[in-house]
Amino acid sequence: MSGGAGETSDAELVARVGRGDRAALRLLFMRHHTRVYRFVMRQTGSETMADDIANEVFLEVWRQAPRFEGRSQVSTWLLGIARFKALSALRKRSEDALEDGQAEALADTADTPEVMAMKDDKAAALRRFVDALSDEHREVVDLAYYHGKSVTEIGEILAVPVATVKTRMFYARKKLGEALKASGYDRGWP
């Protein structure tokens, strides 16, 4: 998002933030917070972490704005910061859990996505399958479909080559197709 026709662009706002303009940062927050929060929430599965990390992302913008060179879209930059902070927080959480001796995985007594899908219509089943994708597959799906990012931008956010983005998307879509087929929904591919 860079503001609608006639509105101040995101890049202009970042430039103003770089000059110490707090109002510009608040406007940037209003524009992008929801998407950043949702992105982190999908990464971490924790509302508390998503809340803290989303705030941290915009504080990081306050600190880094003078050095923002505008090579990528502001929204891409924000999601890149968000992902880095989410991964760091997840790593720390997992280390803390190991230290506390809580590493045992909780037994999952819920139905598998395939069994649940039998009870759903196709759209609900597909949503469940998207949610059940591996982190690495779900993030490319979210970034392309929900955040509207290009192959190159997703590569920047995830810090991987564009070829990797394409192959992850390929396998993510393949898994969705296989899951639908296993649940009795017709699909031409794969």
Partner: protein
């Protein structure tokens, strides 16, 4: 992993379909997908599947609701990070509310009368100054051009009112967290909007102006 993972052209094009749908595909890849969609009946079925995925991913994301007080809490965190901003000066009404209860009844009536006189005087002065007041009907307010403005702490209400009236501006809402006010800008072209906003930036009572919605030049 590399693109060699694709065993055939169909697989490669399937991987590009989400980017065709979100409008970010370009150049040779866009042409290749378009040719495929035009020539292969299976391609349209694949596109329909991708549209289903699009809806599913969007619905899953939109089901997540961020906390309603996120901006207020972020503003507090920003103050801790960047140093405290001085609180915006209280409005005339707030000042009167604080002042009146501590006064004897007679003095309160005198103060209220004095405030009313100032208000009437100010209104007369603004009307006599010949500046055309900007007003928009309620239904048009949502579409009206606006800017976000913060005022200097030391600016008095009278000075703010005069600076706004001089430019035909009107506060639409505020203060938002952090002392932001949404101010309606009576401009019919981008050039006029920029001129008014530039003038406002130079006004002594204004701390900062962030451009909001500009008029669309037809």
């Amino acid at each position: 992993m590399s693109e060699k993972a694709f065993s055939n052209r169909r697989d490669r094009l399937e991987a590009l379909l989400p980017f065709f749908l979100n409008g970010t595909l370009s150049g040779a890849e866009l042409r290749e997908v378009e040719e495929w969609l035009a020539s292969d009946p299976d391609a349209m079925a694949s596109l329909a599947e991708a549209e289903g995925e699009y809806s599913a991913a969007t619905a899953s994301n939109e089901a997540i609701r961020p906390p309603a007080d996120a901006l207020a809490r972020f503003s507090q965190a920003l103050e801790r990070e960047a140093g405290r901003e001085r609180a915006p000066a209280p409005s005339l009404r707030e000042r009167l509310v604080r002042l009146l209860p501590s006064m004897p009844v007679q003095a309160a009536w005198v103060a209220a009368g004095l405030a009313l006189a100032i208000l009437v005087g100010q209104t007369v002065w603004i009307n006599m100054s010949g500046t055309e007041q900007f007003s928009v009907a309620g239904a048009d307010r949502e579409k009206a051009p606006f800017a976000f403005v913060t005022f200097k702490d030391e600016a008095s209400m009278a000075a703010v009112s005069a600076a706004l009236a001089e430019r035909g501006l009107e506060i639409d809402s505020g203060p938002l967290p952090g002392g932001l006010y949404r101010v309606l800008v009576p401009a019919t072209s981008v050039a006029q909007y920029d001129e008014i906003v530039a003038g406002l930036e130079r006004a002594g009572v204004v701390e900062t102006v962030v451009t909001g919605r500009k008029p669309t030049d037809d």
